[in-house]
Structures are given as C-alpha cells and as structure tokens.
C-alpha cells in the first residue's frame, strides 16, 4: 500500500492518496483542454492557439468580443454550476449512503425551480430578473427545510429523507407546471427554457454573482471531509467515534442545498450532474472525500461545459439547453455504472 499524504492542523485533517493527487492534477489539465476547445467551437471557429493568446493577453486579437464577452463567461459559469452540483451530489450520496441520491432526485432542485418559475410568472414584472437567483435559493432552502422537518422522527433517517424528497418533488413539479400553464405564453416559454437548464446569454455579472457562493461553500465542504468519511461507516460507528451525528448531517445538508440552490439559480435545473459526476470520480480516485471532492467538481464542470458546447453547436442556429444533453449522456452512463458496480 502506498503511503498516504497527510495534512493535519487543529481545525481539520485530510489524507490524500498520492495516486489520487496525480489523477486530480490530470483532471485539472483535462478540464482546461475542454474549456479551450469549447472556446474555439461555435458558429465562428477560432484557432485554439489564438484562444490561448487571447486569454493570456486580452484585447489584442480580433476575436476579443466573441471570446471575452460571449463564450468565456458561459464556459466559466458552466464549470462553476457543474462543479457545485457535483459536489452537492457527492455530499448527498455520502450522507444518504445511497448511490442514487442527488439534488435533482431528492427535490432540492424542484424547490428551486418552483420558486423561480413563480418569480418568472408573477413577479418578474415588478422585480428585475437579477432577483431570480434569490428566489431560487430561497425555494431550495425552504424545500430542504420542509423535507428535513418531515423526515425528522427521533432523528433523521436518510431513507425517509429521500422518499419524502421524491414525494415533494412530484408535488412541486405539478405546481410548477400549473404556474406555467397560468402565465402568459411569453413568460411560460421563458420559464420552460429555464426549467430545462441553460447557460444561454451568460455575462460576467452572473459569474461574479455565483463565484462568492462557490468560494465559501466548497472550502466549507472540504473542512467537513473527516466527518463525512467517518459517517460513511455507519451511524453507530460514527457516534462511537465521537461525531455529533445529527449536527454534522444538518450542516452537510445545508452546504449541499446551498450549492445546488446557487447553481440552479444561475443555470436552471440541470439534472444528472450531481448524480453521475461523483460516480465517475469514484471510479478514478480512492474513496476519501478529500480526493473525491475536487475530482467530482472537475468532472461535473467539464460535463456541463461539454454539454453546453454540443448544445450550442450541434443544432445551429438553435441553442439547445445544456440540461438536455447532460441527461442524454448522463442517464445511460449512470445506468451503465450501476450495472457494472453491482454485477
């Protein structure tokens, strides 16, 4: 067995397998390549070298507008959204100890969507769309609080959490459809596109608004790494080892919800990223959270970048929402993963 690299301070400790570290570095490289390729493709093809020089030294080349204003914020936002959803899913899967859990399946995403559609259909006339993210995050928070309260019965059982999440998701989905039916056709189209999950028309404003969330929440998740590893061993073991279990669960759930809510707020309900990215990460690196979290984030981010690139190039001049392609690729792949894992 290889030696583990240990980082330990009074506040937290992580152990990383050197192999996992190597793979994480490779993943960073891969993500960068994907990002550059995504910047080159589109209705206007730009040479990759030109893209790199443009990013290194802005405002020199002839494609400044296309790259800096149109494509780069979109790619960055795709990455952030994908990364946030992936880490959110990873936390949930560890927390619930179920490989099928993810923010979209247990209802957090549908809470955010319902709130956002409510906003788009009834409030967007009085308030500007910059308030949309706030609505989505509030929706996600309320939904998860309700799920959590309903699942609480002498402590929180993960399975009850999942089942109640699914039930609420179905109810909220119906409400969302209802609001779309009621609202005039122009807003209903807007709401519908948003529901599918798209990063169309992103500008730097969106990126700047999402970034603080990610920068706070991801390190917070990382700080909890040790607790996550322990609680994965089972309730009894975790309690015996001195983990304040219910407290830790609440915190982890809060982080996961906030990540998903923030992501959904800026890109709509992109499904399946939170489900499959952690699975791919688990195939690549070893099982410690400290190695899984960055890997999941990089994979989730690349996944959304790729999906969006396909979406905006495959059916030119149509711009198909990234969410459709994530599902198209994600679902079969997920089924394959399950099949292989459980054989």
């Amino acid at each position: 067995m290889d030696k583990l690299l240990t980082f330990r301070t009074s506040l937290f400790s992580v152990q990383i397998h050197p192999g996992s570290l190597k793979i994480n570095c490779l993943l960073i490289l891969g993500t960068l390549v994907i990002a550059v390729l995504s910047l080159t493709t589109g209705s206007l093809w730009i040479n990759p070298l030109e893209v790199i020089t443009e990013i290194a030294d802005p405002n020199k080349g002839q494609h400044t507008f296309v790259i800096e204003t149109l494509r780069l914020p979109r790619v960055v936002l795709s990455f952030l959204v994908g990364g946030a959803l992936a880490v959110s899913g990873l936390i949930l899967q560890n927390l619930i100890r179920n490989p099928l859990a993810s923010p979209d399946i247990i209802g957090v995403t549908s809470g955010a969507s319902a709130a956002a559609v409510f906003f788009l259909s009834f409030l967007s006339g009085t308030l500007g769309t910059e308030w949309l993210p706030v609505a989505a995050i509030i929706g996600a928070t309320i939904t998860s609080l309700v799920i959590y309260l309903l699942a609480w019965r002498q402590g929180m059982s993960p399975i009850r959490l999942v089942l109640i999440g699914i039930g609420l998701a179905a109810g909220l989905g119906a409400l969302t459809t209802f609001m779309i039916v009621l609202s005039p056709i122009a807003t209903s189209m807007m709401a519908y596109v948003w529901l599918t999950g798209t990063v169309y028309g992103t500008d730097w404003q969106d990126v700047k608004a999402l970034l603080p969330w990610i920068l706070v929440l991801l390190p917070a998740a990382f700080l909890m790494a040790r607790t996550i590893n322990v609680q994965e061993l089972g309730d009894q073991v975790a309690i015996n080892l001195g983990v304040p279990l219910q407290q830790a669960r609440f915190l982890l759930l809060a982080i996961s919800v906030a990540l998903a809510g923030a992501a959904v707020a800026y890109a709509g309900a992109i499904g399946f990223v939170g489900l499959i990215a952690p699975h791919i990460a688990r195939q690549l690196v070893n099982r410690s959270f400290a190695a899984l979290a960055p890997a999941s984030m990089l994979i989730g981010g690349s996944l959304v970048i790729v999906a969006d690139t396909i979406g905006r190039t495959a059916f030119l001049p149509l711009d198909v929402p990234a969410g459709v392609f994530v599902s198209a690729v994600g679902a079969p792949f997920f089924i394959y993963l399950l099949y292989r894992q459980h054989r």
């Binding site: 979209d104 109640i164 609420l168 119906a174 209802f178 519908y192 529901l195 059916f315 198909v320």
Partner: protein, 340 residues
C-alpha cells in the same frame, strides 16, 4: 355474512360514483338543473344550450375522468402488489413520464395527431420506462427493495421529463397546445376521440378483475404461490402488461395525472381489506370517484380559469405520500442500501 357486508360496501362505492358523476354533469361555469340534465339524455333538443353543453363537453369529460381514474387506480393497485411496495404507482415509478415522452416525441418530431396512434406510442413509452425502472431497481445483491425501486423511478422520471422538456424547447410552436396536457387534463376530449380507447381500457380492467384470485395467491409469497401451482413468472408478466396498458392509455387520453394510482389503492385497502377480488373493483370505483371530484374542484377553484386536474391530484396526493413515507419506512430501515 362477510361477503354480503362487502357487497354493501361496493354498493356504497357505486352510489358515491353515481353522485360524483351527476355532480360532474350539472356543476360548472353554467349550472344546470338535474331535470334539464335528465332531459338532455331522454329528449335531446338541439336548440337548448344546456343540452348542447351536456352532450358536447360535460358528458365526455365525466366519462374521461371515470375511465382514466379507474385505469390509474387499478394500475397502481397492481403495481403495489407486483412490487410489494406501498409507494409504487405509475407516476412515481416513471411509467407516466415514459408514456408522456413517447407522445411528445411523436407529436413534435413526426407530427402524429391521432389519439389511436398516441395510445400505442404511449404503451411503448410506458413499457420501456417500466422495464428500465424494474431492471434498475433489481440490480444489486439485495434485489428489488422498495427504496431502490422508488429511486430508480425518480431517476427515470427525471430522464424522460428532461427529454420532453428538451423537445418542447427546440420545437416551441408545439408548447402552447401541449402544456395543458402535460399538466394533465380531462377537458376537451370529445366523445369521438375517446371512444376508440374505452373498449381497450374496459378489457384491461376486466382482465385485472379476473386476476384478483391469483393476485391474492401471489402476494402471500412467491414460494407459496409456486407451491400452489401458480406460474409466477407468467403471472408477473401478465400483471406488468396490464399495468403498462392501463397507465399508457390513461396518459394517452388525459396526460400526466399523478398520485391517483398511489392514493386510491390505499383507500380501497382501508375500505375493502386486502382481498384483491373485492379490492380491485373497489379501486376502480374509488379512482373514478376521486378523479371526478378532483375535476369538479378544478372547475371552481380559480374561476373562470381551470386548474389542470393533474395539479389537483398532486396537491391531494403529496401529503398522502409523505404520510406513507413517514409511517411505512420504519420497518424497511434495516434494509438500508449500501454502496456496492
């Protein structure tokens, strides 16, 4: 003694159904007296507006609600027996979503517009989705656990819903006409449109009623059933086919109506007990009554507009599902699913 008691119960259910049916005919934006309604059937007069309203919209609407409601309720009861899972229903396990996707696909890409084709397409969609959920849920060492089945259903639902959304976003003209139907609706289906499907639903309902005795044996345990000479595999396939047929045709007529298949079997079990020979007809009647009642409420809630009936049933069904999940899963706790 017990038998006659149950007959009375069935009679009561039938009376409830009849009441709901007549209420559905007379109540609405224009209230029509029972006498006029009766005349509309016995001595139809094409110059009386109320008569026209009844024959063109109200009657077909009530009939749609009856058939769709009983189809979904019986499908749910069969699924709960088949999977031994109190949370199973066509909506939760992704069968509705599969049928819906099939229909939206054919309507937007191949511009199919006839209900008869829709029915077959909906079957295919429902069958594919049901098969996928069953296989996904059965993967793993511990076999088909209730929780895994529900999760697999949610995953497949998410998949098909997102494909449906993608299609509608790409093909925006179709959205407006299809939206109300996505939310589930029994309105605006004229008698000529639904009649081809009705014999089929009736056939499936009768078939499921005939299976009642065999289902009783099956749910007493697979080993017992095999010991008593039942061909369990064939039986399960048959039940699966009926479920897909019922749910598929219900979605083809009325779109996505959730939770009826979940709630009604529980209500029927509380009323008629677990004997499927009595419980299944009870289910059919209660399902029809529930959908009729939901449809009447949908007309009045936000007059002059209408709430899609699928939304109504979801609003009724969500608290019920949560109640079940809170109550029922304590015994399933020791079977918590672990990573492979």
């Amino acid at each position: 003694m017990l038998r006659s008691f149950r007959s009375y119960q069935l009679l009561i259910a039938l009376l409830m159904l009849a009441t709901a049916f007549s209420a559905s005919i007379v109540l609405g934006q224009t209230s029509i007296s029972l006498k006029t309604a009766y005349q509309a059937f016995t001595q139809y007069d094409p110059t009386v507006i109320d008569h026209i309203i009844i024959t063109t919209t109200r009657l077909s609407r009530a009939l749609t609600a009856i058939f769709v409601g009983s189809a979904l309720a019986v499908a749910g009861a069969l699924m709960q027996a088949l999977t031994r899972n109190p949370l199973a229903s066509p909506g939760i396990l992704g069968i509705n979503a599969g049928a819906l996707f099939g229909i939206v696909l054919s309507a937007t890409l191949f511009s199919v517009a006839s209900l008869q084709y829709y029915v077959w397409i909906a079957f295919t969609g429902a069958g594919i989705a049901g098969g996928m959920v069953y296989c996904l849920g059965a993967i793993g060492r511990d076999g088909l656990t209730p929780v895994k089945l529900v999760l697999a259903g949610a995953a497949i639902t998410a998949l098909f819903v997102s494909f449906t959304q993608g299609l509608l976003v790409v093909n925006q003209e179709g959205l407006d006409s299809i939206l109300f139907w996505l939310a589930g609706s029994v309105a605006g289906r004229s008698l000529e449109i639904i009649t081809p499907v009705l014999p089929f639903i009736t056939l499936m309902l009768v078939a499921s009623l005939l299976l009642g005795r065999h289902i009783n044996i099956l749910i007493s345990g697979e080993d017992v059933a095999r010991g008593l000479g039942q061909r369990t595999v064939m039986m399960k396939w048959l039940m699966g086919l009926i479920v897909v047929g019922l749910a598929g045709s219900a979605v083809a007529i009325a779109g996505n109506i959730a939770f009826v298949g979940l709630i009604v079997p529980h209500m029927a079990r509380a009323m008629f007990g677990t004997d499927y020979r009595w419980m299944l007809p009870g289910c059919a009647m209660l399902g029809a009554t529930l959908l009729l009642a939901a449809d009447i409420m949908a007309r009045f809630l936000i007059m002059p507009q209408e709430v899609p009936i699928g939304v109504m049933t979801a609003l009724l069904g969500t608290p019920f599902f949560i109640f079940l999940a809170r109550r029922g899963m304590t015994s399933g706790k020791k079977r918590e699913v672990q990573y492979g």
